[in-house]
């Protein structure tokens, strides 16, 4: 980023150049990061107690990673599915992954996703007059 700040265009106007402020921030950021690095080395007194990468419990991030993944899928297909259908599928998928799968649970999850997204979609579309993405699929249909 510091390197990139040296390629910011200079239109030649008087006064502060566009690259100055970000460069100040980036240098300060680098100094602070260096201080943190030095401090982290200084704090490792007992290397036996230090946690290696292989000891980190990656399962603690499972639900967060599911949310990330579902959100990326939702955004990628938003253009095709639209906010209404995409939103329902996103909420239903997330509820199923996080809450577990059974016929009773899935029925509840489906009702929750249809009702909540339906209500929100209606409020924004009809109440607040926001034109939400319609989706190519619904347009073709």
């Amino acid at each position: 980023m510091i390197n990139s700040s040296y390629y910011i265009e200079d239109p030649g106007y008087q006064g502060m150049k566009a690259s100055y402020w970000p460069r100040i921030i980036l240098w300060l950021l680098s100094i602070m990061s260096l201080v943190m690095l030095v401090k982290s080395f200084a704090n490792i007194v007992d290397s036996i107690n230090a946690v290696s990468f292989s000891q980190i419990n990656y399962m603690q991030f499972k639900n967060a990673l599911i949310c990330f993944g579902m959100f990326i899928i939702f955004l990628t297909f938003l253009e095709y599915l639209g906010m209404l259908l995409g939103g329902i599928l996103f909420v239903f998928g997330l509820l199923t992954f996080l809450g577990g799968f059974s016929i009773k649970k899935s029925t509840n999850h489906l009702i929750i996703s249809v009702v909540t997204i339906g209500v929100m979609w209606s409020i924004f579309t009809f109440g607040l007059k926001v034109i939400l993405p319609e989706g190519e699929l619904i347009r073709i249909w």
Partner: protein, 550 residues
Amino acid sequence: MIDVILQAFASIVFDPVTLGLMLVGTLAGILAGAIPGFTIAMGVILTLPFTFGMTAIQGLATMLGVFVGGFSGGLMSCMLTGIPGTPSSVATTFDGFPLVRSGKPGLALGLGLWSSFFGGMISAVILVALAPQLAFLGLEFGPWDYFSLIIFALTITVSLSGGNIVKGLIAGLLGLFAATVGEDEINGVARFTFGFDEFKQGFAFLPVLIGLFAFSQLLTDVEDDKRAKSPLMEKSGTLVRVEHRQAIAIILKRWINLFRSSFIGIFTGILPAAGGSISNILAYDQAKKASKNRSNFGKGEYDGIVAPEAANNATAGGALIMMMALGIPGDIVTAVMLGALMIHNIIPGPTFIQDEPLLAYGVFIAFFVAHFFMVGLQAFSLRIFLLVTKIPMYVLASVILAYCAIGVFALHNVVFDIWVMFFFGVIGYFMKKLGFPLAPMILGVVLGKLAELNLARATGISDDLLLFFLRPWSLFFLIMAVISVIFPFYQDAEKGSKFSNIYVPASVFALAIPLLFMESITRLIIALIMIGISFYFVYKSFIKNKALIN
């Protein structure tokens, strides 16, 4: 001025739409404050997308409803279940829960509710009286002073957000850096766009805020599989009848505690980034120190409920004072409100009250009215609270994540904003995991452009950078910034050590110096008093040390 106040009053009280929106906002705030894992800031952030289609005053009134309601919502869960709904009601739990367990739930709720009400009313009066005066003072500020004020706002956020100061500074700088992406406001030159046209507009402030704060919080809430699947509260309490009259009588008898706690709340609110989470504990501590029944604290002492509840609602007024008078957000909630005003092309600053008197006084009136709604809605919201607590967190989080996407899209009608929210949500989540505070980053994003603009104006007027140290107000804020950076070391220092003895008098003395150079007799007198106080502190510690040596 009276006619402006009357007009503002009419625009709120005689407009059924605004009143209705405030009613819904207050109810939503009470619920957001009552649910553990949700914060008032999150409630206000989630309300924001609904306000896009409203007028500026309607939007702000709705958010104020959420803000005020949130503080009182926190007391409901902490009293009935012993779990604080928000960090700003932690101290209320110390005596509120024992009082409920001793068989007086109605009185405990009444004390909390009416203390919140009176605390809010006191801060509302101070808000109306102080904000225009502070704004008048703000008119003296030049770009040098404004830049230094922003630096102070950032450093105090870092020092008060707890934890590692280096991590706090890194978070603040990251926020400032995020604000530089896109075309700069002075020259119109593209920065850090890497060939993407979408980046030219920069990151809109609200998607960044929703991502950093709401999105990352929801991910944290569903992290633990077992907790995510169980209802929000295992013990959700039972319906109780609030003892209004008895509670009011008890509070009015403790008026000194009420006023002291309210002033602590207001002062904490005025400090950038120091919110209700700090003021409620400070007020509780002071109430305990001043009480004759210290041994009763923690066992259901009335003063132990009055102090934190009056303080946390008063904090709201304090935070609003800074936003209205100087355009500097006092906390995350006022940062969101600042964003909401910007959507309506209104930039708060020292001239805001003069330029937009109807809107400014409308905010004051809405803050008053929201407190009445808060009292009126308590019984009804208690019923809804008992229902909501039965919902598992994963259901709530999934629905709100989708709602965040819809809300963010509604801002500019572009999908890129949702990607921005997601990107900053991921950053926020991992920053939290690694122990970085988010508040400095949020403030950095909010104030970044303003800081750059004022720096550019200052250097445009004069090349002399020494002006930052020679102008009294600028020097005053820079000294405050240094004091706030050193503050965490003072907290960690041993009591009685040389450093802890010298910190307070040196700070007071240093702050008095710029006041001496301001052309005002009052400020000169204040400066001399401050110098006197600092010498008194030094003398006191000298006597104490001498006694110890002997």
